[in-house]
Symmetry: C4
Subunit: 325 residues, 4 copies
Amino acid sequence: MKKQKLIYGITTLICLLGFTACNTNEAKEIIMKNHTKNTKKYWPNDAQLVISFSMQFETGGQPEGAESPFSGNPLPKGNPDMPAESWFRYGAKEGVYRMLKLWKKHDIHVTSHVVGEAAIKYPEVAKAIAEGGHEIAAHGISWSDQWSMSYANELDFIKKGIDTVETITGQRGIGYNANWLRRGPNTLKVLQELGFLYHIDDLSRDEPFITKVRGENFVVIPYTLRNNDIVNIEGKQWSPDQFLAQLKAEFDQLYEEGNTQRRMMSVSLHDRIGGAPSVVHVVDEFIKYAKTHENVVFMRKDNIAKMIKDDPNTPIDNSELEYNK
Amino acid sequence: MKKQKLIYGITTLICLLGFTACNTNEAKEIIMKNHTKNTKKYWPNDAQLVISFSMQFETGGQPEGAESPFSGNPLPKGNPDMPAESWFRYGAKEGVYRMLKLWKKHDIHVTSHVVGEAAIKYPEVAKAIAEGGHEIAAHGISWSDQWSMSYANELDFIKKGIDTVETITGQRGIGYNANWLRRGPNTLKVLQELGFLYHIDDLSRDEPFITKVRGENFVVIPYTLRNNDIVNIEGKQWSPDQFLAQLKAEFDQLYEEGNTQRRMMSVSLHDRIGGAPSVVHVVDEFIKYAKTHENVVFMRKDNIAKMIKDDPNTPIDNSELEYNK
Amino acid sequence: MKKQKLIYGITTLICLLGFTACNTNEAKEIIMKNHTKNTKKYWPNDAQLVISFSMQFETGGQPEGAESPFSGNPLPKGNPDMPAESWFRYGAKEGVYRMLKLWKKHDIHVTSHVVGEAAIKYPEVAKAIAEGGHEIAAHGISWSDQWSMSYANELDFIKKGIDTVETITGQRGIGYNANWLRRGPNTLKVLQELGFLYHIDDLSRDEPFITKVRGENFVVIPYTLRNNDIVNIEGKQWSPDQFLAQLKAEFDQLYEEGNTQRRMMSVSLHDRIGGAPSVVHVVDEFIKYAKTHENVVFMRKDNIAKMIKDDPNTPIDNSELEYNK
Amino acid sequence: MKKQKLIYGITTLICLLGFTACNTNEAKEIIMKNHTKNTKKYWPNDAQLVISFSMQFETGGQPEGAESPFSGNPLPKGNPDMPAESWFRYGAKEGVYRMLKLWKKHDIHVTSHVVGEAAIKYPEVAKAIAEGGHEIAAHGISWSDQWSMSYANELDFIKKGIDTVETITGQRGIGYNANWLRRGPNTLKVLQELGFLYHIDDLSRDEPFITKVRGENFVVIPYTLRNNDIVNIEGKQWSPDQFLAQLKAEFDQLYEEGNTQRRMMSVSLHDRIGGAPSVVHVVDEFIKYAKTHENVVFMRKDNIAKMIKDDPNTPIDNSELEYNK
């Protein structure tokens, strides 16, 4: 028993040494003692923090010259970029399947934003996602700029996407993610007309909110650039340990705030980037870390939207009213 | 008792392993024994190190196409960049409030550089900063280049800023920060004419100093690129653990130098960047780390300027005399 | 005996603290207990993971203005860039020899992709590689774009390379790596005509596969950008600790997957980059780490290709059929 | 005694956990047991590794628009860039003095490459360097491209530099460093004519060597991009912990190689960059780390050149013979 105490004593000291260090259940218990639990709950399901993963499935839908490790030095138009094409293919051959195993291992369901043309090219991948119990959300029929479309074209673009993906997967998207987040001023009205429940292309808050579109409630589930593989791994060129450090620091702060506010954490992974072994490995580490905390709930975005859309604690934010009248 | 010694022995060994590792009070005590304290004091208030945070509030004042994760790939003029706008909005919806909680938790008062148009757009945010006991410093009426203005225009630009912010917050700025630090050759004379006490747009020293403007003393409280979120998190694209490593390494060196010299450490955080969960988390870690050291004092810049402006130990540096005659 | 247990207890706790931490044999043993070994084997040689290093020897073949730390600010054509030339020379004077010592120390044989003109310029280096028991693979006669060549020119370009290098080293290449991976649509047909067994310029999978070229089997041993020194150390500008973190995270994931799938890990090092002291140091660390795991096998790519080309478990992937008919 | 053993046991385990971790003398002793010392010596002074620091003093000599955190977004010609000027001034006001204290604390003498115009602008700084016992080496009269000069102009440019700096510091440079390493094809001949002993603008080896210039021996002390603050801290935008990781990994490899080869490690720091608190802090950590190893010798480059120029073990490398005839 005394030796037991000694081990705990040492653990405590070691655990105090650095914020990245304390991943064990034992260590957490010791630290949690200093944590005064608030009895008030901020989510309808009493979560202290809701985490939602986005898994983009886009491979196969990319246009010529789409962003890749080769696109900075593009070939003249019309020349197939053979290694670049193989780089994209990785998402369909390895990336999505690896992530699906990760979600299954942790019994997590995620939101998958599926580009229509990717599902056409690789229907087996789209079906495997749906069969894993994940939300099939909309991401347009193709990998194209959307912000400059007319209302009618944008409606057609989005509708073709959900029709196509529904035919393949049996699920009709009710959540939307625009290419590189760049919706236009009409997008929310178009989504409303098509019966969508929510969109994610907003970075203004750390919790979902309601915005009025033509006077009706529309749910916004904020997306993330901070916990986004395409931004951090490809764009900022972080190594996987940096991505893990970011996920943990973000979690630690939001989890603590979850004691006194409604807080949500969004993480985004794309087939050919987030599906790499090293990235999945650190996301696995992150999930294990998050799970050592009480009342952390992993949810699909459609379920979050349904849960909070009529909840009186959900904030209403009409910052974009000028566009949504 | 012997086990106690054993634990300390282990702690010492562990703590010697790396410079990032020793954050605990116990560990510090052990290390501090090797630290010969100088009896001479270099600051009027006997601090060994003065730390001053800057918290820029700018959101809402940004012009079209202002620097953001989206500005590298700008939309044609006249198209609203919806996700970019939501990214800026984060500063007013989450960022400033999160930082205000951090300052309150640690009982620290900071200097907030407030753009006039940001205060007009989000007066509740500007007021919350002032009500937290923080210094409201000037940052121009709008988010614009200042280095190319005529003397009269620059005076008008700065005066409008302090008049506007004073109306909203009740505080009149006496410290100045130019957009991207880029004051012009007239700026100090303009500031002097408007009754300012100090400016921060100088990177030449690790302590405040006096410079002559039209023959009168003017205080310079050096700013920082090294401990600056916009430079490091957005510009250099560091992960939060890197920002923490920088803050600690900078602190360790300046704190040690504080034994034999007057030393000051400046840290800068912007609403939409420094206000992110992961950044606030590591700044929180940094503050905890700094607080394990004796005689570390956190101060607003106006109070630093008042404290040292007539102190005989304050250096006088007239490197820019050609402009300030 | 009890103290022994105590030490193990502490080790376990420490080892649980972070994924980069557990490099010791002892620590591994403890962790391995949780590892249920699958009895089914996925490689013909029962490996759980096959690791293959590529060592590019290119120095001396570089054209004027080739990518280097100086090429971002090029001199006008015709001016020798003296420090840039000395930077390249490092590969032949230090880099390859340092890596050869590393391979020898660990009794590993690698695949060396040798540019013909590099072997002409530094035959002693090319010979030293061959004498070390390493595979001499083909990398073209010169450091030139290949994707835009006609069929005949491409055949000539590749044939000159293998003829030249065979004359110098006594080995005729049967594996191919194109400049910056950029083969063209004819490349596989050309390689087949020249009797090549495999190529590596594909990023779509984490295991070798068969693709049909003019109806015959051709082996693809996927290459890597993720574990590639030129991409990460020069391109992404990682410090060596980041490269090590990437290698370990990649290994951990693929090794675990090796329990239920055939998995391979490719690592790529170039003479003047991977041959630097700090990079070799962390690759050494990585190899030591990998070797603490059971059934990790290091192989040359020609031996991998021979081992799996007729194995029924090797996947067939005809994603590029349109080019290879 | 048994507890003592227990502590050592734990230390050993901890120390085996990662290559960055073992900085203590005690830990080193344990590890050193595995280190079989070679009795043959490779340096005339029996060093296992020679480390040489370069400290560039350039501030005050910069032309308008010289590289700085502000130069990526330059002001129109003729507008003083006030914060950029203050950023440069830091080198003369803080940076050099901070480094001088570091060298003194560790009783190390370094080579300082002094730009003539910097010494003219800040003679007190140049004198302080010389008075610290450091080598005053040449770096040209001004901060200008040198590779395109005629023979006569280049001779004049270099001669003015050494004449000027000698007048101020009393030391005449015998070692040369060109701006951004970019000497031209005549540089070595010019240096020889002016009586120089060595130059550093070569990256091809990890040890000094002899090259023939007009048939006479000329010493090359290779410089470094890998351990260079301007390349890593400003260019690659590393945080200081990354710079430390690089220095340690480089050291570990070269020190080990020093058992069987002559090895040298060069580290380069510039006044306004390497003189920052966080950088000096990690260089201090590095020096402490290096000093825990036996037979590590810190030397000025002139002393290295004198020591090895007639030593039969010094390699002769005439790779640039075409220019130096």
